[in-house]
């Protein structure tokens, strides 16, 4: 009886896991196929003679290494900036007393209620009018600060013993010094969660980079992958090889830093 239950459990788990990882398995398998194996009907599920030709072919269609670099750079810039602006404003809201504090905090919260698509046209026009289409500036500027980051870090800072803060300030430690040498090191888990969350969110962006980039050299990987699909000589093994390459960083983060991600998600995803 016990054994039967366990078998059922494993059976269900295996079935569900297979369904959930099928797209990944298929992408990997197809990326090792020859072009004709996917353009026949019914398409093959496993490569007859696995080879890495499709991976080399990706670079022929899109400037993959450049787009990889773009994606890493943009995600890193945004993540760093979000952490810096977030830490600074969260510090102000958690520790400092100043006029209009709740009003300003209200403004920060208000940003959580504005769906990005509601402001995407004016932001596009701003970039177009300033001649910033197709620049890293356009890709990063609107995302350098976020209400979520501030909100998340403020919550964390609020749990910090206030005595410690007051003692430090009475001692004559400057705010920046306290922030840098005491608060930030102690908040490392929260900052790590935020950073991972932000990195993945930026890495995965689609709508905005689609609008503000045009040349392949300035596009991010996500856009490049979808362009692969539209390329003249569309070969699906090449498209899926591109997908597999684009998945590597997020797969590593998903598998290696799951605990951080969950914390970042639950705290961070107050907005979409």
């Amino acid at each position: 009886m016990r054994l039967l239950g366990r078998m059922l459990g494993y059976g269900a788990l295996t079935l569900v896991a297979l369904v959930l990882i099928f797209p990944l398995l298929f992408a990997v398998s197809a990326s090792l196929m020859a072009p004709h194996e996917l353009s026949q009907y019914p398409p093959a599920l496993l490569p007859a003679h696995p080879d890495l030709g499709a991976f080399a072919a990706v670079q022929r269609v899109i400037p993959l290494s450049r787009q990889y670099f773009n994606s890493v750079l943009v995600a890193a810039l945004v993540t760093t900036a979000q952490v810096v602006t977030g830490v600074l404003s969260a510090y102000a809201f958690a520790f400092l007393r100043f006029p209009f504090r709740s009003l300003i905090f209200g403004l920060f919260i208000a940003t959580l209620f504005v769906p990005y698509e509601a402001v995407i046209i004016p932001n596009y026009l701003t970039m177009a009018n300033s001649g910033l289409i197709d620049t890293y500036a356009a890709l990063t500027l609107p995302f350098l600060a976020g209400g979520v980051s501030t909100f998340l870090l403020r919550q964390f800072f609020l749990s910090f013993p206030r005595d410690l803060y007051e003692a430090a300030i009475v001692d004559g430690t400057g705010h920046l010094r306290f922030l840098w040498s005491i608060l930030v090191p102690l908040s490392r888990p929260a900052i790590a969660s935020l950073a991972i969350f932000q990195f993945i969110a930026t890495w995965n962006q689609y709508f905005w980079p689609l609008l503000v980039t045009r040349s392949p050299a300035m596009q991010t990987l996500q856009i490049g992958i979808s362009q692969l699909q539209n390329a003249d000589a569309q070969e699906e093994n090449v498209v899926l090889a591109g997908v597999v390459l684009a998945l590597i960083p997020t797969l590593i983060l998903t598998f290696a830093a799951q605990r951080h991600i969950v914390r970042g998600l639950t705290a961070g995803a107050v907005r979409g």
Partner: protein, 295 residues
């Protein structure tokens, strides 16, 4: 009358300024500009032209297309949010089984989380392909007729939604597992001592204690769903016959696609979206939250 330290106020101003300036430039100013754009027409190049007052709104509300896009948006949200939550809970419960190697399954089931909207949509485009698709190929093996996954107006929206549910599941399972993991062991043991069976423990203990997590997911996935763009753009471009044109996709079509630069009309639509998101968020926080069981 509160008194503030001048130095502290300056520091605070300096600290909040970077975020505040960025919000001003990229959220608050654009929101106002959306309002102002929606009162103007455009010249053919996309520069704001004539003041048209409420003209864009009249055009918008008079056209049958708005109703159609709103219905599509609503259906898409329903098709993605509810299955995402229900299946998510089932999977998370399955992952609570005390079995050796459950950690491996937990990791594997998070796989969809590693996919972006674009990578997921590109893979599903291969699955759904009308002529040489993987899904139809698999169905053929068991002698089921090929399905018009994306080429039939009644089928396209559920198909895109199914791909979205798969994509969301990784996230939902991660969050729900964390929620389940946070329920203290003692509560279960107390229930066991009371002689509660598995089903009634689930109904009367686990699910109520999971409501904050469920509520959180409901809000988040509703908003994410309302904002869906990439999967529609890659899989269907809003077709066939407009069957997958949601509000966000319609904004894109009017403002950026097919040589169209109708920023005025698209801004009016963007404000409709803003109001809808605001209403849902307020409703969810105001009404639903009261029914949520908080520990």
């Amino acid at each position: 009358m509160k008194r503030y330290s001048r130095a502290e106020s300056y520091t605070a101003a300096l600290f909040v300024a970077p975020s505040l300036i960025l919000f001003g430039l990229f959220i608050f100013y654009p929101l106002l500009r959306s309002v102002s754009l929606s009162f103007y027409g455009n010249d053919i190049i996309g520069r704001p032209g004539l003041f048209v007052g409420l003209g864009q709104y009249r055009t918008l509300f008079a056209s049958p297309a708005l109703r159609e896009t709103l219905v599509n948006t609503l259906l898409f949200t329903l098709y993605t949010v509810l299955p995402g939550l229900v299946v998510g809970v089932l999977l998370a419960l399955l992952l609570q089984l005390r079995l050796r190697g459950i950690g491996i399954f937990r990791t594997l089931m998070a796989t969809p989380f590693a996919f972006s909207v674009a990578t997921a949509a590109v893979v599903f485009a291969v699955f759904f392909n009308p002529g040489v698709g993987v899904f139809n190929g698999l169905l053929g093996l068991v002698h089921i007729r090929p399905q018009p996954w994306l080429t039939d107006p009644g089928r396209a929206l559920p198909s895109v939604a199914a791909a979205t549910v798969w994509l969301q599941l990784g996230y939902n399972v991660l969050v729900l597992s964390a929620g389940l993991g946070a329920i203290p062991e003692e509560i279960y043991e107390a229930a066991k001592l009371d002689g509660a069976r598995a089903w009634s423990t689930l109904r009367h203990v686990t699910l109520p204690l999971l409501t904050p997590t469920l509520f959180f997911l409901l809000v988040v996935s509703t908003i994410i769903s309302l904002q869906s763009f990439g999967q529609i753009h890659i899989l269907t471009r809003g077709g066939p016959a407009g069957a997958t044109t949601t509000l966000v996709y319609s904004i894109y079509l009017n403002a950026f696609a097919f040589g169209s630069s109708n920023f005025g009309l698209a801004s009016a639509q963007a404000l409709v979206l803003f109001v809808i998101v605001l209403a849902i968020t307020t409703f969810q926080f105001g009404v639903l939250e009261r029914k949520v069981f908080y520990r």
